[in-house]
Symmetry: C2
């Protein structure tokens, strides 16, 4: 087991590597050529233009100003400077509330850490049951609950502390829930007119032999919402079309690449093979080939579009129905329309950006079967994912490679390379799996039939959290694969499971401290460096970029990634709460993580990430719920641990804690969750009345007419067919991020520029 000294060394290494990342970031970001990698958000919002256009050429690559190397952390105060309302206007409420998760971590764990250091640590340290022990215990264990002898009365301290920490956490959670709920309501209320405020998504429109879907929808709502119905838009099945469009785009990219290649080297026309992956088949002139391919696809696209508009089979049994008033839409979204609860399903339309178009037409029975399939699949994924990986690992050994590619044998047999491969190969299958896991989970959610990106991400996040809880948290505490654990738990009593886990917890403290430093500290620092987008951008810049538009496409701002990011934060909440009473020395590491991550992600959200959609913090109930789960888990594990310590006096008093915590959760759910699911009629009526007074002659129908059109009909291929699109997109009034005060941000933007321009 590691001593305090070992941890000190590990901390030093991780702090150094974090500093190295920050240093690299500081150097790279002030090079104007990387400007689009590190500040894409400002480009997307049109508040920043390319620095390449002006200035001395030499300054583009080398920064010789000594000051900027001293001030290499000055992005941190800059990131913290933007006030929250400004941030909401800049990057949306989702991002602002996402940052509050880190703040929540700080708010919860800083007082807990102080209290734990003031009370729990001295009690643990002075007990000294381990001082005379024959087993070699580490210093860390001296500070943990392990140091307290069996049946000691000192466990009352831990009991009282567990209560104190629970109450503090619940208090902060409740306050935060309240704040976020009111932020959401304020955000929704203060928003400008948005199409989704007036629109309801109707799914599972039952087929009618006499009427086409469009008329059916119109008649149904004219009859059942006579005073409120305004207009509707049917949903077209554009799967094939969008696949054609993306095919065309890829071919166009290749065409551009070969054109660029040819223009640089006029002596030889580039050629390619038509077969598998460009490796086999007959050789053809690449430019001619791709030109003809693009032309063919353009034709097909035009044909398909024509078909979609004319053929009624392309209309899906779903529609976006818009109402005259927000009140009408709120009513329709919250009520049941028809006797049969599986048809005419209404719900709030997601924001146009947020719609996931492919799942519009899944019928009820199929939906329900899909859920079952995914639930079973997820169970197997969580508990049996090691089996295929072990299989791949068994294949991917040195002998296997030598058999497959005999000509590499001589290289592989070199000792250094051999040992490297042997050490590296077994891990790679697992690593690849873990990298792709969020995408696999997203695919699962998509299969389940959710209709907005935000729901998809929330669902995936829940699954990812469960996976991490079982395979990272439990998997680290108890050795063995998840399936072995499951098997063990099934054969253990409900009483013994918390004991088994609880006993191992103090022993794993050093492991988790290292984990926090590597994954949390260094990981955060690596995030800000954006190594992958940096490389990809420069590669694209080299091979594809011709115009300014290409350059904009080449920059990949990325998104916040709620589906993988939030579960990772939750792991830290879990670790912090579990160890708060047991081994408080872990807490400062958690606090540092939350502080660092808050600064880093605030910087990234301001400068980098693109906002894919705006769900108005709809994810908060999930965040809250998972922290409560962590709290209950920590209480159960503490009970298990204490019962192995034979602290028979104090353990029974812990039983009330999970009961109270679960009750607290239900109370909060009832009190605050409706703000995230429903839209109060009072609010709707207020906004309607105001709007009517302000703009009595508003033509709402025009405003709503083309809000919900499949994106493939909107932009995507603006190179041609524009004239046809005109009839589709009359007023492309997409949701704009509101921006009331423009005077602050350009300043902030200039500030972050100022460090880079200081070298000019």
């Amino acid at each position: 087991m590691a001593t305090l000294g070992d941890i000190g060394v590990a901390a030093a290494i991780n702090i150094l590597s974090a500093f190295a990342f920050f240093l690299a970031f500081a150097i790279l970001r002030i090079q104007p050529i990387n400007d689009r990698v590190y500040f894409p958000k400002w480009y997307l919002r049109g508040l920043r233009s390319s620095p390449l256009s002006g200035g001395a050429f030499v300054n583009m690559f080398v920064n010789v100003d000594f000051r900027s190397y001293i001030k290499f952390l000055n992005w941190m105060p800059a990131a913290l400077e933007m006030p929250e309302p400004e941030l909401i206007h800049h990057a949306g409420l989702d991002s602002a509330v996402y940052l509050r998760i880190y703040l929540l971590g700080i708010k919860i764990f800083v007082p807990i850490a102080f209290l734990a250091f003031a009370v729990v640590m001295p009690v643990n340290w002075t007990s000294g049951s381990l001082h005379g022990s024959k087993l070699t215990y580490s210093n860390i264990d001296m500070l943990s609950i392990s140091n307290i002898p069996l049946k000691s009365d000192r466990f009352w301290t831990h009991l009282v502390m567990a209560y104190a920490f629970t109450f503090w956490t619940c208090y902060i959670l409740k306050r935060e829930y309240q704040i976020v709920a009111s932020m959401r309501l304020h955000f929704v209320a203060s928003e400008h007119r948005r199409p989704d405020q007036f629109t309801v998504l109707v799914r599972n429109v039952p087929p009618d032999p006499d009427e086409p879907i469009s008329e059916l929808v119109e008649h149904f709502f004219l009859v059942n919402h006579p005073d409120h119905y305004l207009t509707h838009q049917v949903v077209y099945n554009a799967k094939k079309l969008s696949s054609l469009v993306s095919q065309k785009k890829s071919k166009q990219n290749w065409l551009d690449y070969y054109n660029l290649k040819y223009s640089r080297n006029q002596t030889k026309r580039p050629s390619k093979k038509t077969g598998f992956l460009g490796l086999r088949g007959s050789k053809v002139d690449a430019i001619d080939f791709y030109t003809s391919e693009v032309a063919r696809l353009s034709e097909e696209i035009a044909l398909e579009k024509d078909k979609i508009t004319k053929d009624s089979n392309y209309i899906m049994p779903a529609a976006f129905v818009s109402f005259r008033t927000r009140w009408g839409a709120a009513v329709c979204a919250q009520t049941q329309q028809c006797r049969n609860p599986t048809v005419w399903l209404t719900e709030w339309a997601p924001e146009p950006r947020d719609v996931y178009w492919d799942n519009m037409a899944v019928p009820y029975v199929s939906l329900s079967i899909r859920r079952l399939i995914i639930a079973v699949a997820f169970f197997f994924l969580t508990f049996f994912f090691m089996i295929p990986i072990a299989f791949v690992q068994s294949l991917a050994n040195i002998e296997g490679i030598e058999k497959a590619v005999p000509f590499l044998k001589s290289i592989i047999e070199v000792k250094v390379i051999k040992s490297f491969i042997q050490g590296f190969l077994p891990g790679i299958a697992l690593k690849i799996f873990l990298i792709f896991l969020p995408s696999i989970l997203m695919l699962m959610s998509k299969f389940e039939g959710f209709i907005s990106l935000s729901t998809l991400e929330r669902r995936s996040a829940t699954r990812y959290y469960i996976f991490q809880f079982i395979n990272v948290f439990l998997g680290s505490i108890i050795t063995g694969t998840a399936f072995q654990q499951l098997d063990e738990f099934i054969h253990q009593s409900a009483n013994d499971i918390p004991k088994t886990i609880g006993v191992s917890i103090p022993m794993k403290a050093t492991f988790f401290i290292t984990y926090i430093m590597v994954d949390g500290w260094a990981g955060c620092a690596a995030e800000i460096l954006r190594l992958k987008p940096l490389i990809l951008y420069h590669l694209k810049n080299l091979f594809l970029v011709k115009t300014e538009k290409d350059r904009i496409e080449a920059m990949d701002p990325g998104t916040l990634g709620f589906n993988s990011g939030e579960p990772q934060i939750q792991l830290y909440f879990l670790l912090g709460l579990v160890y708060s009473v047991v081994t408080p020395i872990l807490l400062p590491f958690i606090v540092v993580f939350f502080g660092l991550a808050y600064v880093v992600y605030r910087h990234q959200i301001i400068n980098v990430y693109n906002q894919e959609y705006e769900s108005a913090a709809a994810f908060w109930p999930d965040v809250h719920g998972r922290i409560v789960v962590a709290l209950v888990v920590s209480q159960l594990l503490l009970m298990g641990l204490l019962s192995t310590k034979e602290a028979a006096h104090s353990t029974p008093f812990l039983i009330a804690l999970p009961v109270l915590t679960i009750w607290f959760h239900r109370f909060c759910k009832g009190r605050h969750e409706p703000a995230f699911k429903k839209y109060p009629l009072q609010e709707a009526m207020m906004k309607d009345t105001l709007e009517k007074a302000r703009e009595p002659n508003l033509n709402l129908k025009e405003f709503l007419q083309s809000a919900y059109i499949h994106p493939v009909f909107k932009g995507g291929d603006d190179s041609d067919d524009d004239e046809m699109m005109e009839e589709w997109v009359q007023v492309p009034e997409l949701v704009k991020t509101k921006r009331q005060s423009r005077r602050n941000t350009p300043l902030a933007s200039k500030q972050s520029c100022s460090s880079s321009s200081s070298g000019d």
Copy 2:
């Protein structure tokens, strides 16, 4: 363990006692003097008048007609004769659907019994692992799964049968859910105008310093539902008033009793003691005393009524808000009104009869704390109820009684009496507790703050089911108190719990067969006899009844008692499903119970029970859910049982069953439950449109004005104060059970009379 012969004897005894009950019933019911005990429903509906008024005097007591003794079961076909739509009109949808639970039992278990007798029984019987066994096994065990040797391949039969039974049960459940849902929708749609169709209950109206509650409600709904709001009624706090009224009623009863006594024996004026229970205190003239008491209470009631109308503190923060259209009410009931989800809570108003007035003003936080308290209390009630009972038992022994009442010592010491008391006393505390259990659970539900009788009963039923499941089902299988079981389960692995229970199941078959016969068969037969109401009616008739009105009050039709009746039926579903594969010999007993109970309760519903409220079968989701629970329990226990039989090949194939069953439940829930919770707008609009066309000049406001008035202002004390009540009750349009075709029922009524009049 009992042999088949033992069971035959037990069956004979129970069948005989059931016949004895039926015989007694047949004799008693044809005595005209008991007419109001056995046919109160017809009196309540005004379709039958007292048979005492006409006919020969002697025939009132003795029935000498030989034929009626042969035809003593002829009420059975009569009970089955009334068609279901007729039954719905006669006794309400709740009763009709309640009977369908018994029918459901028959539908599920008759085919299962046939299949089990055809397949499982021969397989068990011919295995014969027990034939040569040293242990003495009973014949029953030869027919059960116990007879099959370990590791036998014959367990595949049971596996396949488990699948077959599950699919059959699910199929029937789904079909039944569909039928009941459509019955409910049809019932709601075909109903006449009812106040609750237009009315929404608003609770937690936030206090406003500037406006009284009545105005506040009016303004809020005028603003937020401008086109639909019609009128509202505030809720008065009439707790004190109703307690005064009931006090007065009781004193009036005593006054009547003493008056009657005096009128029969004019020589001596009756007197009573004013102290504790009429045992102590000074002696006064009873008639004078009660006359003055009644006068005092009348005055107090008048004062209290005056106060309620004038003092605004008596107005509770709740109101019944009525709308112009059903559409408007449906919208308001299903939507959230205000930002703060804990105020302005709207829900469908219960039927006026169904309202539980005392819980109208419970604030949200208090509600949530009450739920917690009751959840904890129920846990302790379920697992620790034996502790106080054991305590009472330890007190109530012979010595204790002798000490308390020494003068009885000589009587108690008589040997026969002593042994009787010793045998009787320990059981009595438990028996009393079990008799009062449904009332205790009802009190708990009332404390939880539900606002309609139907919800209260549904909630109590759920709790009663859990109690029975743990204390009757598990308690019979595993010896020891519920708490000992809980303790054992906590210390057992999740794998072992089904094994422990599963192993004991075949051994308890004979016990449960006896239980079914005693509780099910004889219990049903006893129910029809109505011994308690019979005695009480005749006592009241003797001491209190002066007028026809008194006689109506004296008859106690009782109600269906969903809160205690349904959980008991569910126990039979559980037993049937658990034993269907294990010991199929139990199935015929279950089938007989369902058949018998169906006939008995159909008779009682037609002739006896009064309908307290009409919830339109809102309880069906609970019934369905509990049968699914029974199904899953039976599957888990079978898994446990088979794994102890080391049937390693077949057991894993059972895992899919609970997964599929739970999925089936979720599917049904999504598909059918909304019909029981929501009111589709399409339906509302259809009815509104129809009504507008039919009755364009309807004065809805007048119709609704006094629908939701506390019953204490309506009837109750119609002896005086009537003139004051007039201003309250303008149009006492209470919900009438609709009756379209009157030609059938009087016939049925006459039929059931005919047997009694045949003796005249």
